[in-house]
Amino acid sequence: MGRTLAEKIWDDHVVRSHAGEPDLLFIDLHLIHEVTSPQAFDGLRLSGRTVRRPDLTLATEDHNIPTTDLDKPIADLVSRTQVETLRRNAEEFGVRLHPMGDIDQGIVHVVGPQLGLTQPGMTIVCGDSHTSTHGAFGSIAFGIGTSEVEHVLATQSLSQAKPKMMAVDVVGELPPGSTAKDLILALITQETTGGGQGYIVEYRGEAIRKLSMEARMTICNMSIEWGAKAGLIAPDQTTYEYLKDRVHAPQGEQWDEAVAYWDSLVTDDDAHFDKIITIDASTVTPFVTWGTNPGQGVPLSANVPIPDEFEDANEKVAAERALEYMGLTAGTPMREIDIDTVFIGSCTNGRMEDLRVVADIIKGRTVADNTRVLVVPGSVRVRLQAEEEGLDLVFKEAGAEWRGAGCSMCLGMNPDTLTPGERSASTSNRNFEGRQGKGGRTHLVSPEVAAATAVLGHLAAPSDLPALTTTGA
């Protein structure tokens, strides 16, 4: 019988297989950051072990670091200790690190693809749940805990029970004005936050094939938000074009060899999926969340839902609690929700395409009064590229803040946080209670919706913006 794409990659990485035990998988790339690694390195030290393959390991600083005053030491002492601990560990164990100030520093899931280290057919892990992002290249990529980080450091392998296989067939085409972010938010609402649990998910179909690499990363990034172990997309010409000539992409003859292998990474026609679900892209419109988990979303054109209308008792209670936390009244049109802060960034939507789209919409317009807008590039290279294209000027002229690269307000570990009761429209991936700061209220949105919201001060789509009057002779 045929195999799925994920099964082929899995089989190619089995180091040891034994009945009654999980498979031991070889790990091709291990990404590291400051928050989930200190205890792992400590574990190595305590047991007198070394990093088995520093040459398959890469560290960067992203979660904790400030996005302003980049030339000064980190003001928060505990954050500084964590960052310094990573630097010491990288030095002691011979791991390559891109620290603050380095041109290749950035959010770990932006840096890997950008360097060409993320390639089809690989196994990639990181002590971060959004490692699923790298699945966009046709890899098995997933987040691990700190004990597993230690395990990979020591052995370059991981024991894993084989997940079940699911296919998401995206039929139809995304209508103009609808984006990859809207699609994945709609899918998570359709399937709920637990719907993907226990599965590796392959996203397929025409609408997926038409997406750029960056949009595919947005989709795979949020696989974890509906509980999937990993999400992936079969590699194709779009993938190869993105990869070609990147620093760590195969060169010369090796490129041809690699492509020949990558071409084999497709799900066979007679492969078996444990589950297949379908979503119709043509029905997807700009989509936003109203609640406190990513599965609590509605189209922007809809209203805040009425808890009594949920059939499931748990969902009803969860909705009541969410509305209370979010300070929302059932039945309010989503467009009437005023926004205090717009956050544009994160490993979901902090790449070049995202910034270009936002700049396009904001250009010639101004940010609404009483709305704070933070634009945080996903990496230093994204920042520099944006500056080369003059996007920073567009943002600043409109009244938005242009920041240094990092996770920033996606999780509020650095000074970029919401205050209690403050409401954000955020291009990130989690709207959990307190995620962006204690008491903060988060609406997840696409970069397009974020930009229009920045201008109007309430949740909005670009189509809501008045046309720009052209001035001049």
Binding site: D55, I144, W255, N293, L411, F432, G434
Partner: protein, 199 residues
Amino acid sequence: MEKFTSHTGVAAPLRRSNVDTDQIIPAVYLKRVTRSGFEDGLFAAWRNDPEFVLNQPAYEKATVLIAGPDFGTGSSREHAVWALQNYGFKAVISSRFGDIFRGNSGKAGLLAAEVDEKVVQALWDHVEANPGAQVTLDLESRTVSAGEGVDRVEDSFTIDDYTRWRLLEGLDDVAITLSHEDHIEAYEAKRLPFKPATL
């Protein structure tokens, strides 16, 4: 890691679903570089509320947490497991766990016992009717039980064989894998030549 065979302790009912890892421990508490001291951040947003279950005297010494479905979804932070352990919890019972959380629990020695939704309900009812009541989790027989006579709640819980074995034996994962180092070497010798390297 300590061996885990069975545990009996006061159980606290956490009547919430979708308790994600940001709820278990918010990001601002993740800055330590040790494995201890995370109890301060456990359920930080709720701990100021005198009504919150862990603030009630009956559950002060709780070592078992009975939670709603989808406990531990979200981030990969193992700090969520450490925070529960640092606080004193030995086991969490739920009808569904976030995948990474469950994996982390197994590695760190916290028992994540998956039971039917009805069992969660019965246990909630039992410990609320008898605040401070104890619940027993027997890993050998994979059973959870509480109470006596007509009040007795007893059912099985699910945990995968491998994790159960490791917990019962108290085995260190890295040592197990390193005993198969010859397999890793053999794999490395035949890896595809065009795979990227960072150094």
